[in-house]
Structure formats: structure tokens, C-alpha cells
């Protein structure tokens, strides 16, 4: 469960952020770790509503957060990601750490008014992020 445990005698000696309950909680629900977030926008905001008729709103979503060491278990990352993490930590910090990026997408249907006043319905691939990974 996510409810807070009351601190015992040992925990009261440690800083709050290192209490076992907090540590356990952070393990289960890591803060700022790579995750999928919403970003809802309307095409009116982009001033595209004069040529994009539908959908009026669009949530492409995005991936944000850090990539932990043990990326393979949680994110299904390839071994290459593990190796790159080790290179960053042990050998050369100029090699970037693995990045939090989309791993899967949904398509999006779009109805547009073309410059010649014809109307087009199109389905575009990879328009909505649905899963994140570390790579």
C-alpha cells in the first residue's frame, strides 16, 4: 500500500529521506523516473484550426524522467542500454546515459482542408506515445 508507515526507533535516527519506509516507497514508486506524461493541446492554440478540422484536441503524450541503472527489468531495454549505462558510470562520462524515449505509439486520424478546398481524411502513424523506455 502507499500509506505512510509510522517511524520506529531506528528510523528516527536517520534523515527522513532515508527511512526504510520512504526507501521502500521510492523503490515502488520512483520519483522522476522515466514515465509517460500527458500533454493536451488544441489545434486552435497552434492556429492550425483553419485547416485541421478534426480532431480538435490532441494528446501526443511524452516521455520524461531519468533512467535507472536496472533498466532491463522495468523498461525491457536492450542489453546495449545496460552497457551504455556502465560505460557512462565506469569509463567515460561524455558518453550520454540512456534516454527516456517513447517505445510505442498509436496512430492519429486527421481531417484536413486542403489548399484547393478539397477535404482529406488521413491516418498518420506514430502520433501518440503509448509507452516509454530507456534507450
Amino acid at each position: 500500500g502507499r500509506e505512510t508507515l509510522s517511524p520506529g526507533p531506528l528510523e528516527s535516527l536517520l534523515p527522513a529521506s532515508f527511512t526504510p519506509s520512504q526507501h521502500f516507497k521510492r523503490f515502488l514508486f520512483p520519483h522522476d523516473e522515466c514515465e509517460l506524461l500527458d500533454f493536451r493541446l488544441s489545434f486552435r492554440q497552434l492556429r492550425w484550426d483553419h485547416w485541421i478540422v478534426a480532431p480538435q484536441r490532441y494528446n501526443p503524450r511524452f516521455c520524461k524522467g531519468g533512467c535507472p541503472r536496472a533498466v532491463r527489468h522495468r523498461y525491457g531495454s536492450p542489453l546495449h542500454t545496460v552497457v551504455q549505462n556502465i560505460i557512462y558510470e565506469k569509463l567515460d562520462a561524455s558518453v550520454p546515459r540512456p534516454s527516456c524515449v517513447p517505445a510505442a505509439y498509436n496512430p492519429l486520424s486527421v481531417l484536413t482542408i486542403e489548399p484547393d478546398a478539397s477535404i482529406a481524411y488521413k491516418e498518420y502513424e506514430n502520433m501518440i506515445a503509448t509507452r516509454c523506455t530507456c534507450r
Binding site: 494528446n59 486520424s109 482529406a120 491516418e123
Partner: protein
């Protein structure tokens, strides 16, 4: 040096990208210079910004396409997975004015022949035609008093690309189809796939056709006003084969329905009022279990 030239090109590209409508980058690129990554950017810069203001489509055509969108996509805009067809692109064209009517005899149910010219320049080379229909949008204020059968005759003018005949000469591709008009029909669709497929496949982008109706048993006054008040639209159901387009055949490959030749689905479909556009010309009702 090549490296600095590349960097300069990247910076120019970034500048251009920040200034234009990024959606244009999704447009398929075709033609002989398709390898140039900046071409879509230049196309947009030279076209949409400095060109004339965007034309507005016909309101009823837009209404039809909005209905089609609701049929094909969820509220979030994701293509519905329950669909059984392979279209990922549907284009609606209205004829170029003026629409001319040749003489007819309404008293005998022969309506004047309509002269229609469609410009299909927006169809990209990567978009392959699967089905096409002529769409008549019936005004909701016009009620067809009784059911009636009509014969639609259609003659395609010789394509200009062939160079065999003068444009406008109705010399080839005759086509005729029976359709049944009922009360409450909001749209009439006439399948013209067999006529258009060779033209679109041969990159003919100017389609000139002559359409006339013969409806001997229908009430001439109301029906003629329904069929003649607005020119029909031409709808192309296409499969965009480019990488940006969504392709559903992977999920359909193991589906229950096998693919059918679109040419087999010729004929006429009409949509009752209140219902969405017909999906692939098939009945929306599920088949009963044995």
C-alpha cells in the same frame, strides 16, 4: 568544406522548420527530387504562406467528411480497430465550376446531363486508389415523396494525357448503374471505381465526366431539385503507402475477413438520414449466427 556546409544546411533547416506549419512535414513527398530532405519545407514556404487565402470547402461535403471521421476514428482521434477496410486516406473533391447542364426532358424523367470536372492534383503518387464514389448530398428539406428507381449514366471524357481526343469530347468509358431511391436518404453514392482506377493509376489528375439520371417512376419535381441543386462530390478511398501513413494490414492479415478486390464492390450505396457514411459499401449489420 563538406562538414561546415552540412552544418549550415542543418541550421537553415532548423530555421525554416521553426517558421512553417510543422504538419506539412507529414505530407508525402514524391517526384524526382524526393531525396532532398528540404523539399517539403520549400514546398510549404512557397505555397501556403505567400499564396492566396485558403479556399473553404462546401459545407455539406464537410459535414459528410465529419460524419466519416466519426465512423472511422475514436473521440481521441485514434483509428478504430473494428474497421475492416484498408483505406488510410479518403479524399473528397468538389467539381470545378461552372457545372453545365445539357438539355433533358424532366417530364419523362430524363434529367439534364451534368458536366463535371474534377482536379485530383492533391492525390499523391504514393496513394493508391481502392474505391471511388460520386456522392450526391440530398438536401434535408427535400423529402422524396415516394420510392423510385433511377438509372445513372456516366460518360468519362477521354483523358488529356492520352492525347487521342480533344478534352471535353465524351468519347469513351460509358457506365451505367441502377439505383433505388428511398425516403429519408441523405446521401446517394454511385460507385465509379472501375472508371477511375485506370485514370488515377496512370497519374491522370484531371477527370472530366458527364452524368445524367433517368428516373421514370420518381416524382420529377422534387427529385430533380434534389439531384440538380448541388453538384456531386467525388470521393476517393486510397491506400497511402508512404512510411508516415498508418497501415492496418498487419493486424488484418490474421483477421477473419479476407481482402476482396475493390472492383467487386461496384454498384450503388445510399445512406439513410441520421446514419453515417457507408463503410466500404458493406452492410453495417453483423451477420446472424447459424
Amino acid at each position: 568544406c563538406p562538414a561546415s556546409r552540412e552544418e549550415a544546411q542543418i541550421s537553415v533547416s532548423a530555421k525554416l522548420e521553426s517558421e512553417l506549419e510543422p504538419w506539412s512535414l507529414l505530407q508525402p513527398v514524391d517526384g524526382e527530387h524526393s531525396s532532398d530532405p528540404l523539399l517539403p519545407l520549400f514546398k510549404v514556404l512557397s505555397g501556403s504562406r505567400s499564396g492566396p487565402p485558403r479556399l473553404q470547402p462546401d459545407a455539406r461535403a464537410l459535414h459528410y467528411m465529419k460524419k466519416l471521421y466519426k465512423t472511422y476514428a475514436t473521440k481521441e482521434g485514434i483509428p478504430k480497430s473494428t474497421r475492416s477496410h484498408l483505406y488510410n486516406t479518403v479524399r473528397l473533391f468538389t467539381p470545378h465550376p461552372p457545372q453545365k447542364f445539357a438539355s433533358g426532358d424532366r417530364g419523362t424523367g430524363i434529367f439534364p446531363s451534368a458536366d463535371l470536372l474534377f482536379n485530383l492534383d492533391r492525390v499523391a503518387a504514393v496513394e493508391h486508389l481502392l474505391r471511388s464514389v460520386l456522392l450526391y448530398t440530398l438536401n434535408s428539406s427535400v423529402s422524396l415523396s415516394s420510392a423510385g428507381k433511377c438509372v445513372c449514366s456516366l460518360v468519362m471524357a477521354e483523358p488529356r494525357a492520352s492525347g487521342k481526343a480533344l478534352p471535353g469530347a465524351p468519347s469513351s468509358f460509358p457506365f451505367s448503374s441502377q439505383l433505388e431511391l428511398r425516403k429519408n436518404f441523405r446521401w446517394i453514392e454511385i460507385d465509379v471505381t472501375s472508371l477511375l482506377q485506370p485514370l488515377v493509376a496512370s497519374n491522370e489528375r484531371s477527370v472530366h465526366m458527364f452524368v445524367n439520371f433517368t428516373c421514370p417512376k420518381a416524382g420529377p419535381g422534387r427529385l430533380s431539385s434534389a439531384l440538380l441543386s448541388e453538384p456531386p462530390s467525388l470521393i476517393l478511398y486510397l491506400n497511402d503507402t508512404s512510411a508516415q501513413a498508418h497501415h492496418r494490414w498487419y493486424s488484418l492479415r490474421y483477421g477473419k475477413r479476407s481482402l476482396r478486390d475493390p472492383g467487386q464492390r461496384r454498384g450503388v450505396a445510399a445512406c439513410p438520414a441520421g446514419e453515417g457514411p457507408a463503410e466500404g459499401g458493406r452492410s453495417p449489420r453483423p451477420r446472424p449466427r447459424r
